[in-house]
């Protein structure tokens, strides 16, 4: 394995397309098999909906920053749904496979192991949305007062969500690859997650941070992974802010994407040396 660790795709693009389709079906089957676990996971991520109740009632005494009660409803419902759409869990699976040696099985297959994980994450999205979207709609109906002005920005939202998803994926692959050298790489991911909860705009919009702090926080990858797509979707960003947001997303994606690939290559060499 030390010379050429990456299995090559056999055949042409049609073969690849068939393989990808098969992995998609596999991923959906897996997602359906663990419905209960997924439902609980979704319940865990209803956190923004409780935050919604909280900030909504706080804002009744008067707007907080530039957020009134109705703005908080739009913000947190969007945050809830976008968190569902951009979630991935490569880090747990991949780190466990590296730790246990199960990765060897994946390496034997004529498909890139990362492609396998990518598809298995992507395939769970429809199931996840099926479970989460009704919840979001119910909350919107009960809250009653939402302002989402339809506009061109809604066309850009899918792009921002896609970039955020890729960013999360790359970060997780980076941390998971550390398992090639460390035994507790998932612990490092929990550190990342802890920071994400506070700094991404998951618990409170980052624009409400004290001015100096907000300026810094909004440049970090956490905000690119959640806060930016959320603010874009609910139409709070002007043209130049949109440009800066997308630029930051692309920048962080390039950084973590390159790091992920580099760590993966280096890691496979270390992995091969252990006797795989």
């Amino acid at each position: 394995m030390s010379q050429e660790p990456l299995p090559r795709h056999r055949g042409g693009p049609r073969h690849l397309a068939r393989v990808v389709a098969a992995m998609w079906r596999l991923g959906i089957a897996e997602a359906m098999a663990y419905r209960a676990a997924m439902l609980i996971w979704i319940l865990t991520t209803t956190f923004p909906l409780v935050s919604l109740a909280l900030w909504h009632s706080l804002a009744e005494a008067g707007p907080i920053g530039d957020y009134g009660s109705a703005d908080f409803v739009a913000y947190f419902v969007a945050a809830f749904l976008i968190r569902q759409l951009t979630a991935s869990w490569v880090v747990w699976d991949l780190a466990a496979q590296i730790g246990s040696g199960d990765l060897s099985t994946l390496l034997m297959r004529p498909v890139h192991p990362l492609l396998h994980h990518l598809m298995s994450n992507l395939a769970a999205l429809p199931v996840r949305m099926l479970l989460a979207a009704p919840l979001g709609v119910v909350v919107l109906i009960f809250a009653g007062e939402v302002r989402v002005d339809p506009g061109l920005h809604l066309l850009l939202a899918p792009l921002a969500v896609l970039l955020a998803w890729l960013l999360n994926l790359c970060v997780q692959i980076c941390v998971a690859c550390l398992a090639f050298w460390l035994t507790s790489s998932t612990y490092l991911f929990e550190l990342w997650l802890g920071l994400y909860m506070v700094l991404s705009g998951y618990a409170v919009p980052t624009s409400l941070f004290p001015a100096g702090l907000a300026a810094v926080v909004r440049y970090l990858p956490f905000h690119a992974a959640l806060g930016f797509p959320v603010e874009l979707t609910i139409g709070r960003l002007s043209g130049p802010e949109l440009a800066v947001g997308f630029a930051l997303q692309l920048l962080w994606l390039a950084v973590f994407g390159a790091l992920a690939l580099w760590l993966w290559r280096r890691g496979l060499r270390a992995y091969g040396a252990v006797g795989a």
Binding site: I40, T44, A53, L54, A61, L195, M197, V204, L208
Partner: protein, 268 residues
């Protein structure tokens, strides 16, 4: 199975398990940093939303800055106790249930639920609890308030009721894990929910208020003890809160007995 065993026996049992966990924890001194100190840092970081609310509004639903410090102290104390006593035991017991090794626990000559709840402790997390105590003292000091004996007593009672309620919710989660595997997520859910105990219960209205007072009584865990210390908890609330916790524990105990009957061990 618990017939004939007195309270002294169980106290010795809990003491023995605690001692073993402490000895194990002392072996891994890195835990002081990864569990103890980081626990405090997480608690501090989690305060960000509350701080932002204070910055924008001055007082949050009638709680002034230093009163919120007392509340945060109560939260940090409870969260440290949860991390040190409840969470490790829950995770370990769920592993037992999943792998079928609960058999070995059931065979022992003591109450299985007690054994499950003392099966593991994480002593380093108690550092966080100590930090919480520090915050409470600092907050009360800044407010220039010395709680009377009765107030201290009711705060203590509320704190105990809160811990009891946490244990009850934990047992309910254990019961659920007899039914479905892969429920590790549930303790994360509990942790995420516990995070909302940072806020004064008055922030929540209607449905959520009911849930957080009677079903998953976050209010009993942090708001009531803090209010008792600040001398504005009504006597009636003390009684209701106690009743809620005891009621939850009874329900949890009954469900546990039922679930245990449905447990198919590794061998059968």
């Amino acid at each position: 199975m618990s017939a004939g065993r007195g309270a002294g026996y169980y106290l010795r049992l809990v003491g023995g398990q605690l001692r073993m966990s402490v000895l194990a924890a002392l072996q891994y001194r890195l835990g002081f940093w990864t569990e103890g100190i980081l626990g405090i840092l997480w608690s501090a970081l989690g305060m960000a939303p509350l701080l932002i609310a204070v910055e924008h509004q001055g007082a949050v639903v009638g709680w002034s800055g230093w009163e919120l410090v007392v509340l945060t102290g109560c939260f940090t104390l409870i969260s440290g106790l949860f991390g040190a006593l409840i969470q490790p035991a829950l995770n370990e017991s769920m592993n037992h249930i999943r792998r079928g090794t609960l058999d070995y626990v059931l065979l022992r000559p003591a109450d299985a639920l007690v054994l499950c709840l003392v099966t593991a402790f994480a002593p380093w997390r108690l550092i966080e609890a100590l930090g919480g105590l520090g915050l409470i003292v600092a907050g009360l000091g800044q407010l220039g308030r010395a709680p009377s004996g009765l107030e201290l007593l009711s705060a203590l009672g509320m704190g105990l009721a809160g811990v009891l309620a946490l244990y009850a919710v934990g047992v309910l989660i254990l019961c659920a894990s007899f039914r479905a595997v892969q429920l590790q997520n549930l303790t994360f859910l509990m942790e995420a929910l516990l995070d909302f105990a940072r806020w004064p219960a008055q922030v929540f209205r209607g449905f959520l208020r009911m849930v957080f007072t009677f079903v998953i009584p976050l209010a009993v865990m942090t708001t009531y003890p803090a209010e008792a210390l600040l001398g504005r908890l009504a006597g009636g609330t003390v009684v209701t809160a106690m009743a809620t916790s005891v009621g939850l524990m009874v329900v949890a105990r009954l469900l546990w007995t039922r679930s245990l009957r449905g447990y198919t061990s590794a061998s059968s």
